[in-house]
Symmetry: C2
Subunit: 236 residues, 2 copies
Amino acid sequence: MSRYQNLPAGALPASDVPLRYGIVLFPGFQALDAFGPLDALNTLALNYPLDLCVLAESIEPVSTKPPSGVIDLPLGSNFAQSIQPTHTFSNAPPIDVLIVPGGFGVRSEENMKPVVGYIQDVYPSLKYLITVCTGSGLAARAGVLDGRKATTNKRAWEWATHLRPQVEWIARARWVEDGNIWTAAGVSAGLDLVIAFMEKVYGVGVGKMIADTLEYDAHTDAHWDPFAELNGLGAS
Amino acid sequence: MSRYQNLPAGALPASDVPLRYGIVLFPGFQALDAFGPLDALNTLALNYPLDLCVLAESIEPVSTKPPSGVIDLPLGSNFAQSIQPTHTFSNAPPIDVLIVPGGFGVRSEENMKPVVGYIQDVYPSLKYLITVCTGSGLAARAGVLDGRKATTNKRAWEWATHLRPQVEWIARARWVEDGNIWTAAGVSAGLDLVIAFMEKVYGVGVGKMIADTLEYDAHTDAHWDPFAELNGLGAS
């Protein structure tokens, strides 16, 4: 057995970085919204003593399948994955960083309520809040983005931004950092966000090390965003 | 309710494309190896009636945590996700396409055996076999890559390629297509592979449609691979 790789010279010690993560899941979450950041963190956990709790309303496995009533799937489509939570919102342990994915599930009021309630409860004790894709819609509904800059999925832009006009929504952004809240654009943008987050919060070279380990060609410019224009959105 | 988006003009009808997918999981699989391709396919399943079975040795949830004895995690590291299988290898339904992820788990002989046995059993009935990262090591061990061109994770190159010298291993490749077997380089390369696979197998414009939906800037050149050089590997 051996350690996988040594940290770069710019890496901060474990005493100076957030170690306790949580992710919220709900029926119809987008798998890559969650597993982009999570797998980068799985890899970082080879070097830092990171802890993860997987949170949902109940302890039953949570499916990526869009809830019925949100979108029509082709007849016979049965393509989904189910993730096992470790805790419910009501018995969640203390955490430093919360990750909130998006997906078709955020369009279900029934799904939204418990997640939004948990975000409201836990936000004051967090060091960082990270959202991916329409996950920023859940954070917006919780009120924690009021007066902050944030972004979201570009194809779901109209729907997501109308959830909460008190947010300063930024259309052309791969991700937005405002205070202790980091919001990513659609789906795969969560990977770029988490690499930039590691580079800033864990030290220079750490994000690059993790991207190289994942053989991932990360976009490191938060303003890079061809998908805003592709979806007919302006510069701000 | 509505259909999410219309297929491009070049898309083939459902009668002409593979519809039944399986993915093998084992303890210590790499999450993004699996969820890159799966989430692209989750999105394709909004347009085609795709079916997925999640296969493992038993029906118990399968954790991404590296098996003990394979790699030292920092003291106190407890960062993993568990996925619920739908079938075991012994009751797997017929499938058209099998996806094989990699990860530290492939370094455990105990893990390898049932997965390699399933690949050997099912390969003759498959339309396509897709591997990601060191998942090609499992396919190699099954003998189905003998005499074929294939690639794998570039940091694990020495270990993976020595599993089976009968394979024509290609060092500088984001992915390799040889007959009905597609093998990807490390971790995030699975996303580029699956986009190229869709473009070829489901029709012109389909891969691009899915990449745009995931706001993903796909590498569309199979020869693009800075990670070969980064890991000291030559051109072939």
